[in-house]
């Protein structure tokens, strides 16, 4: 196992597009070669060493390459994009598109991320210990095909469009969400332990959404089928009593999605 450490040194006046920061790209390269990889900043390309002090060489294989980013990179986008294996550890916050389209491996972010984290993710684990913003694990703008596999864990809150268009994989959010959580999902699992504001599961045609807190405005188009207690999805456990709904029946496809909503936090439903 080889660890490449990137220590941010500055020059982040414009945001940096750093999709080169993946174990796939770092494997088999020396610290110096890694520092020469190019990233876009505005209209120009610069070497990674312009922004980071690089220590340590990549391992021979992607699987054995770990990248540690030792500081705050909230002005750096697309970290770990499309990575297939290995590990990325960020000891701070990241910019947009962290782990977008990742296929395998593991990303751990100790701080927050901006929007589009895990966008259209296919596999692997993305663990955000802080908060994230919009479009977590969702489809690209205009696309209706979001995350298809892997797992995203957020210890804090997410905002809008969590898992938009997802068809596989799991998203587990420790905190709360705002609008359009699970819009148009047709597969996979979204668990929100906290609250949601409105439009949970809008236009869903499959998949499962669990909300442990309160939904401020419940989506019309869902019908209650049952009540279940202590539901379990493999290793993901949701304790307490849940009202089980199906929907979204407000669209021509007459959705076959399932939504569990905490009974005790949503008495009025």
């Amino acid at each position: 196992m080889a660890v490449v450490t990137l220590k941010p040194t500055g020059n982040f006046d414009l945001t940096v597009e750093a999709e080169v920061i993946t174990p796939d790209n770092f494997a088999g390269k020396s610290a110096q070669e890694i520092g020469q990889l190019l990233v876009w900043q505005g209209p120009k390309q610069y070497p990674l060493a312009n922004y980071f002090e690089v220590k340590g060489d990549g391992a021979d294989t992607t699987e054995e390459t770990t990248i540690t980013i030792d500081g705050d990179v909230s002005r750096v986008k697309r970290i770990g994009e499309g990575m297939t294996a290995g590990k990325v550890l960020v000891k701070g916050s990241t910019g947009m598109h962290a782990g977008a389209e990742m296929v395998g491996g593991e990303i751990i972010i100790e701080g927050d991320t901006d929007s589009w984290a895990g966008m259209e993710m296919k596999g692997g684990l993305l663990h955000i210990k802080g908060n994230t913003k919009d479009h977590l694990g969702s489809a690209y703008r205009g696309s209706w095909h979001g995350m298809t596999g892997g797992r995203i864990v957020v210890d804090g809150d997410a905002v809008n469009q969590v898992g938009g268009g997802m068809s596989g994989g799991e998203i587990v959010i420790g905190g709360s969400v705002k609008h359009f959580c699970g819009i148009r999902i047709n597969g996979g699992l979204i668990v929100v332990k906290g609250d949601a504001f409105r439009t949970v599961g809008a236009e869903m045609t499959g998949g499962t959404i669990v909300v442990g807190g309160t939904i401020e405005r419940f989506t019309p188009g869902f019908i209650q089928e049952d009540t279940e207690s202590d539901i379990k999805f493999d290793d993901i456990e949701c304790t307490g009593e849940y009202k089980k709904f199906t929907g979204d029946y407000a669209i021509p496809q007459k959705g076959k999605g399932t939504m569990y909503v905490s009974s005790v936090n949503n008495e009025c439903l």
Binding site: A139, Y140, R141, G142, S143, W144, E203, T205, I251, P252, Q253
Partner: protein, 584 residues
Amino acid sequence: MSGTIAIKNGYVFDPLNEINGDKMDIFIRNGKVVTELSASEMKDAKEIDATGKTVMPGGVDSHSHVAGAKVNGGRMMRPEDHYKFYQKKTPITHSGCGYTVPSVYLGGYEYSKMGYTTVFEAAVPPMEARHTHEEMRSTPMLDMGGYLVLGNNWFLMRYFKEGNIEKAAAYVAWMLKTHKTYGIKCVNPAGVENWGWGENVGALDQANIHFEVTPEDIINGLAELNEMLGIPMPVHLHANNLGHPGCWEITRDSLKIPKNIRARPNTNVEWAETKMNPLRHESIYLTHCQFNAFGGTSWRDFESGVKGITDYVNAQDHIVMDSGCVPFGEATVMTGDGPAIHDLYVLTGHKWSNTDVECECGSGVLPFTYLKNNPVHSVQWAMGLEVLLYVKDAWKSIMTTDSPNGGPFIKYPQVIAWLMSNKARQDTFEECHKWAQDRSGLAAETREMTLNEIAIVTRANAARTIGMSHCKGTLAVGADGDVAIYDIDPKALEVSDYESIIRAFENAAYTIKDGQVVSQKGEIVAIPEKKTYYTDIAISADDEKNMLEDVRNWFKYYTIGFNNYPTPEKYLANPTPIRIDAEV
């Protein structure tokens, strides 16, 4: 000397000139094909060695959605169509993006790379003519023109109801000139008007709301005045009931309507010296037959209805049609047929848009993905190929994908491979749903098109059908110097190696426009001048004045002023009127 070039020793396929793979030289002087170049001209001319290569006239697409309001609607609706399919700018080209609905620049470059030099926009709503021309003007590499959507026009429906075919003809002549458009497009006649009231029409003799005209009245009226005016192309029909199981019957019956109308194209131009008669004799041009040829009664017993149409087409001489092939993958469905788009929305639940174009027509857009494992889509794939393979005389058919409805035009090379290689088709049967075999006759069809037939369905017949064969779709003396040279040696061609066919047609070895090499092996090397064609019909001043009184009277129903309605020539790149002296 610019536009002067000698193409030596290629195998030439020029069907309108009855040249079928002969090894010969092609000479172009000042942008036009000539018999030979003098010794002094040869000194300055560019010389291309086409030994072992296939030489065809530049490709002609007679039905493609490439410019205008609904195409742009497709772009705006689909950011996801753009971000992974893009090209960077080069010293001479613009950047561009868009897979199924490319930006205007990218669209022009992609066509040119495949050897195409002429593309006609399939549907121009009159009110959107300015927008369409703005986009066509900005589409590089291609000579263009557009068809005016007139199948649900209030003025025409009123004239047809009154039986006043002369006034209807005067109106169409004025409209083509006013909007700088080329021919008549008729989309779901009488049905799109009903859609304004949430209805459609289901039969050819069903009168629509308020105007009380039937699809039959409209098809017959348009075909009659089309020949009365001598318009270069036949009426271009998108038949009723499109996209509904069982629609093939209404399509066949629609084709019967203009059976006894004699084609009288009256184009006043200088004709290239082709061996074949380049004039059309058809009174109707059916578009995207595949979408109009659904069999069965529901999606459960859905099947190909192509044979019912092609049997009729084979037995008649007044019909030509394009295929509307489905090459699988991403598409964007866009049409003037608003109700058809709504039906697709109900079917797929996808995002969609619909527009009512005031007193004229309508339109709709919806993203669509054709999947090999989907039973209906796989039958549609087979049907598009059936259309072309079942029509015995290639001069009755044209290859299209109704781009981007069946799939984007960049898939043409794939379609060509399926037409030329039975193995290509059999290999696709292996990958797609078994309905493709069970519910169409394609699996038993062993015909493999020759390069000559491919030249017919991709350029010669497209040009002949729309009346452009005086300068396009042929390499006869006097024709435009538009040539496509492909890396295919006809003597060594093994059609079972269809991947090589795809590669060759994807990136022409050379695309030559007006005698200038504009693209080479997938790289754009020059940006040529382009022309925009429209039909300019002279009618009597009195007829025009009488008709315009009606137009002015009803212009109160428009949201724009009459003076802002016409499209001035300044909206066109090199406006090129095709003059016609009508005998009205």
